[in-house]
Symmetry: C2
Subunit: 317 residues, 2 copies
């Protein structure tokens, strides 16, 4: 098991939680954040954090630390510039919600060789260091990329961090990841914003709103900047999910108008939710990073519900 040091860049909800979870797991870990105000509490709490990006990266280069990019999409290029300058040979991962666009940017900056993308499927509608929580990833799913050319040692380093944070690892290729999260993360945000608007069009309705509206609009209270960054960074896949949504809603409207019925939608929707509730995971065994065909095997298993719960140390030499 690798126990590489960890350098976290961007200490918002996700990055901050990674730093806290890594420290709790016994890792040497430090963090960088652009704004000192936003992380004043982190220093007070004893975390090794600061606003000097060059210093954080120089230290990472010296110790071959795993670099974790935790900044939002719109700040990505600047961070990649700095990594390319100060720590161009380190293993790099990220915890950004879309993967293909991040991977493309990483490759543009010449950092592809030891990059393995990541996405912990966890969050709240809060943001910032003050909402960070070392338990955020406990029992969560953490996607670790299995794109062509992924370096087995970098993969071990990223998966090992995810496991140390309490998650299970699902190996997924970037494009497949983005199409999947459009359905279960970005579309829910679009529908929540829409529902909030239709509700708020009637003050009486807002006054009567109870559990179904509260839960259905919960993520509309997330930071608009972060919601936009993840939806717009995955525009093509989101349009596809939106088109399926519009087709279903148009058909439901037609059935409601023509037959005063919601049978088709409600029956199928209930079955779909039941499928979700009954979704089962299995442990991926018998294949290790670097084995012949490991990327294809991991992808196929990840698609079917497979998760990695432990990583063997890299075999010597």
């Amino acid at each position: 098991m690798t126990t590489a040091p960890v350098c976290v860049l961007g200490l918002g909800l996700i990055g901050g939680s990674v730093l806290q979870a890594a420290v709790r797991a016994g890792r040497t870990a430090w963090g960088y954040n652009r704004s000192a105000d936003a992380i004043a509490g982190s220093i007070q709490a004893g975390y090794d954090t600061g606003t000097d990006l060059t210093a954080a990266l120089t230290r990472a280069a010296e110790s071959d630390a795993l670099i974790v990019i935790g900044v939002p999409m719109f700040a990505l290029d600047e961070i990649l510039d700095a990594i390319a300058e100060h720590a161009p040979n380190n293993p790099v991962t990220d915890v950004v919600s879309v993967k293909a666009e991040v991977a493309a940017a990483v490759h543009r900056h010449g950092l592809g060789a030891r990059y393995v993308g990541g996405h912990p499927m966890a969050g709240t509608n809060q943001s910032g260091w003050s909402a960070a929580d070392p338990d955020l990833f406990t029992d969560a799913v953490w996607v670790v990329g299995v794109d062509d050319g992924a370096d087995p040692d970098a993969w071990r380093a990223v998966a090992s961090l995810a496991l140390d944070c309490g998650s299970v690892v699902v190996p997924v290729e970037s494009g497949e990841h983005d199409r999947a999260v459009a359905r279960i993360s970005h579309l829910p945000h679009v529908l929540a914003e829409t529902l909030a608007l239709v509700g708020a069009a009637s003050p009486l309705a807002l006054g009567l709103a109870a559990g179904s509206f509260r839960d259905g609009t919960r993520v509309a209270s997330s930071s608009p900047e972060l919601v936009r960054a993840m939806c717009e960074g995955n525009a093509d896949a989101l349009v596809q999910a939106l088109d399926e949504t519009l087709a279903l809603l148009n058909r439901a409207r037609e059935e409601l108008v023509d037959e005063r019925s919601t049978k088709t939608l409600v029956t199928a929707g209930h079955n779909a939710r039941t499928l979700y509730e009954q979704h089962e995971r299995f442990d991926i065994t018998g294949v290790e990073p670097g084995d012949d065909g490991w990327l294809e095997k991991y992808r196929a298993a990840g698609r079917r519900g497979g998760v990695v719960r432990q990583i063997r140390s890299a075999s010597p030499g």
Copy 2:
């Protein structure tokens, strides 16, 4: 304060919770349910319940009990037939999710004179007596109808029960109620069913789903029969809410395709959710049931966030 006995017909989640809350508030209360199996636990727990509808209604007639209709829409006519036969002069309310259709049925059965509709805005995705909970209505909003011709004494009886169950009362006219709940209760169900379907179209997506999908689809696990009954009983208002939804989603799709932006939807949706979070209630004072213009005054106040928190006893005759 009236402390009329209470006769609850239909002991599912809502009816069962009304019975339990009424008993806890010190009311004499009994209940009827068609199926003995479904309420075996109620008798064991010491509640006065049974499967003899005629007996329950005869007792209600003898004591001028407030009759609470807690059966789903599709069982309504049969229950109204029995009330018309055995307790035609009792005050009657209901806890069904749509109001105009229930009111029309009540009037068709000649029971309009002492009918005042109700709708406690509370529920879970569970159903049945086993999910009933006397705390279900604590701090909830309970809509009490203020349709033209409402009888002030029946209104007091219904509002008083809602208050005894721990709720605040919002006076709303039936048609306005139905248009409002289409937005904040029925539309959320339609969107939850749709989201569940778009997610379940990809097994990988289901495996990655986390909080936003779980919350956004929660009510899709509700009983399909009950979801259909409430949505189809409010078809016109739901179509209107659906059309607003489709217009917003189509515009969002256009902006996403043309400008790779979600700014309009996300900004407005976040503001709408903030409006909901900041929604404030005020106490309706200075008007009592039966006062000149009380129905209009209650309606106007209810629309603006007004709630009734106490009811004076009826002035002597």
